[in-house]
């Protein structure tokens, strides 16, 4: 599985950080997020269709949703108290928090029941913890505070009465000496009250013990609900679709990568959605420098990983397998600490990927970004061709970006980024001239077509590099020499 830095690199952590949960219970679910494995398709689809349902109905039933969310926001994480309840007697503050939780579960179950009438979310049930609540609140006052009532025991009533009598005397006491005497008496009675309260608290805890597992299961369901709502809100924000799980092919239309999209957006530019369909075997992506090949690859990795994590892919249409593993081999993700050259590290990483894919039970996704770019072009091209032949024969879904010629012929599919193909060179040159050279890269980027298209005809990679050099005013004598 991808490690944390790889997850960060493809924008997965950006997405999980953007999940807005309402309670610490939901937050805990996000931090301990699990990935679905092949074989768990049915469970995954239930989760995903819940998220889709919620995303589609958030606006229409905003009243029902916000009522649920408002209750979620009041919740605290009481799991630690529940665990210590198994053995020990809880303090009054812990019992207060338990009571608040039980009360919230009553309100939440009502609010959730109303929501279910509108949006039938499956597999989550919020049961009101009334049995536990009755132990904490035998008089059924349902107040949001915790207090052991005088009526809880004869001894409590009598000690509190005695204490009050002395307090009355203390209020009227005139001399310091009298007060000191009364205080001593009072403190003996307060100790009696304290001992009795402690006994009653331990009785309450005993009464609560049979419901610990119920409450933990309730917490679990609440966490699922909160997590579902947070995923739905994010899906609604960026636009996402319900994926269709396939055996071994992908067909993804107009995927986006929120991290890249937001970063472009903040600079006043738009993200070009990525579409790609491939069967098992190798797909090659070629295209111009600065053309967004790596972004396309990361966007594909991100959306496949999102589905594996139980989130909707940010796309218009998504057909893909539930992958066993998703591998991405890229120079900008390599582990420099291993002390290998970038080329060496890439080879080692690729070996591990192959071995991992070999031993995986299901289908894997293998992505190679500009593989072997660090070596000489002649050998590099030969390596990439051989690797492509190998991957194309595998049962996994593999995609490679490359600069090298003659690779695509060994793949099942070939895409290219349009790049500067349709650009009016003279127009861009004028724009750059009027803004000065510093903004040149940005201006080129704004004219670049980042779209991914099935390659047509020509087998060789486009020759945009020289055009970019020219636009960025590379020394003319050098430029002349390139020709």
């Amino acid at each position: 599985m991808m490690d944390f830095s790889q997850q960060t690199n493809i924008g997965f952590r950006y997405v999980t950080d953007a999940l807005e949960t309402d309670s610490p219970l939901g937050r805990a679910r996000v931090t301990s997020m699990r990935f679905f494995e092949p074989g768990e398709e049915a469970e995954l689809l239930t989760e995903l269709s819940n998220v889709k349902l919620a995303a589609d109905t958030l606006e229409e039933y905003s009243e029902e949703y916000s009522r649920v969310e408002r209750i979620l926001m009041t919740l605290k994480d009481i799991r630690r108290s529940l665990e210590s309840l198994r053995e020990a007697t809880l303090s009054e503050v812990e019992l207060f928090e338990l009571k608040r939780f039980c009360l919230a579960s009553v309100y939440l179950s009502e609010a959730f029941a109303k929501l279910l009438l509108k949006a039938p979310i499956k597999g989550i049930s919020i049961t009101p913890e009334t049995a536990a609540l009755d132990v904490l609140d035998p008089e059924k006052t349902r107040t949001a505070t915790f207090f052991i009532p005088d009526s809880a025991s004869k001894e409590l009533l009598s000690s509190r009465k005695d204490k009050r009598a002395i307090e009355e005397k203390l209020r009227r006491a005139q001399s310091g000496g009298e007060r000191t005497k009364l205080m001593a008496e009072r403190s003996a009675i307060a100790a009696r009250e304290d001992a009795e309260e402690r006994r009653l608290r331990s009785l309450i805890c005993e009464g609560l013990r049979p419901y610990i597992d119920d409450m933990l299961s309730c917490i679990n369901n609440i966490a699922s609900l909160d997590f579902t709502l947070s995923r739905a809100k994010l899906a609604a924000k960026y636009g996402a679709c319900m994926p269709c799980l396939t055996d071994n092919e992908i067909d993804m239309a107009e995927m986006i990568n929120p991290r890249v999209r937001d970063s472009l957006y903040s600079r006043g530019r738009a993200f070009t959605p990525v579409s790609i369909s491939t069967p098992a075997g190798a797909t090659v992506i070629t295209g111009a420098n600065m053309g967004g090949k790596s972004v396309a690859l990361k966007t594909l990795a991100l959306n496949a990983l999102l589905v594996k994590a139980g989130m909707l892919p940010f796309a218009k249409r998504a057909r893909l397998p539930l992958f066993s593993e998703i591998f991405i081999v890229s120079e900008d993700m390599e582990d420099v600490d291993r002390g290998l050259s970038s080329f060496g590290a890439e080879i080692v990483q690729f070996n591990e990927t192959l071995a991992g894919a070999e031993s995986a039970s299901g289908i894997c996704m293998i992505l190679l970004d500009e593989f072997a770019r660090g070596t000489n072009p002649e050998e590099g091209a030969m390596i990439v061709r051989a690797v492509t032949r190998k991957l194309n024969a595998s049962r996994h879904i593999c995609a490679l970006t490359t600069h090298y010629d003659g690779v695509a012929q060994f793949a099942s599919a070939h895409y290219e980024v349009a790049g500067l193909r349709d650009m009016d060179m003279a127009e861009v040159a004028r724009e750059i001239a009027s803004s000065g050279t510093e903004g040149g890269a940005d201006i080129i980027a704004s004219h670049m077509n980042y779209g991914l298209y099935p390659a047509t005809g020509s087998e060789s990679c486009p020759r945009d590099a020289r055009n970019i050099c020219a636009l960025l005013s590379l020394d003319p004598s050098i430029l002349e020499d390139i020709r």
Binding site: F96, R164, R186, A190, D194
Partner: protein, 341 residues
Amino acid sequence: MLRELISGFRSLSIIGMCKNAGKTTVLNRMIYELRSAGVRLALTSIGRDGESTDVVTGTSKPGIYIYEGTIIATASDMLAMCDITKEVLSSTGFSTPLGEVAVLRARSDGLVQLAGPSMTAQLAALTEIFESFGADMTIIDGAISRKTLCAPAVSEATVLCTGASYSRDINAVVNDTAFAAELLTLPLQTLWSREEIDSPGAPKLRFKMEDGTTRALPDSLRLADALRMREYAGVKGIFVLGAVTAALLKPVLQGGADIRNVEIAALDGSKLLFDRGIREKLAIRGARLAVAHPVRVAAITVNPVSAYGFDMDGDELLSRMKELTGLPVVNVRADGEDMII
């Protein structure tokens, strides 16, 4: 009577010039007097206070005795040491070394130990929580030390406690207390907007120039050196984020920079960490001191009995303090019976 001096404020802090200044005695008296006035009181402290033996000096200390209906906020580890009948109202999520701060209502009279939050924002939030449970007035008990002085920033008024335990020398007690009161009640600064003061990431030290522009003191320059440079000749005011220390001001005074009519401002009186000598020299050179959050000192209380055995003449202490500060001064040992339990 303290009551007339403190009633009407939404929030009040009690700060001590030293240990054993009689802070808890004053607090107990306030609680007692406000009860008969029917004020619904809420109490908390900055950090821990109210233990029966002083942790620092080992002298015996009075407990805080509250009445039924009072709301308190204290750390959960302190609850076992509160002998009121307790109703838990809220758990705040503010954590302290003594556990999370909980809010309770006293369902009987009794002794409590207070250990509240020590962050200004949390204290402000706590005041809101108290009021949501129906409190009319919040009293914040400040522990001893400089940080205690952040209490005034979150309260409308403050009571300054001092006494014979501060020094064996009555002159020092009177003069230093008067100086502390003076720093707390410095006038509101006149040169900076609210936004400028609160802007996040503002430089530690900023100048306001004659033409109204703002400049930061470059890291490479000391304040004293900058003030002597032609470039900074038109400085009208200086705003210091954080502490204004003797180490900062001494070189300015020694360096002969022209600081006539320059306003030196800090966030509040607790950020001014220098002695009376420096204050006087600044005044002679024509500089003014100001703060962004002025504090009202509702009263000064004096305790003529020292924990270390050097008692003072209560009347003399009272009258000299009154004369020097012009503020209401109360002798905690004088009128009526001690409320110490």
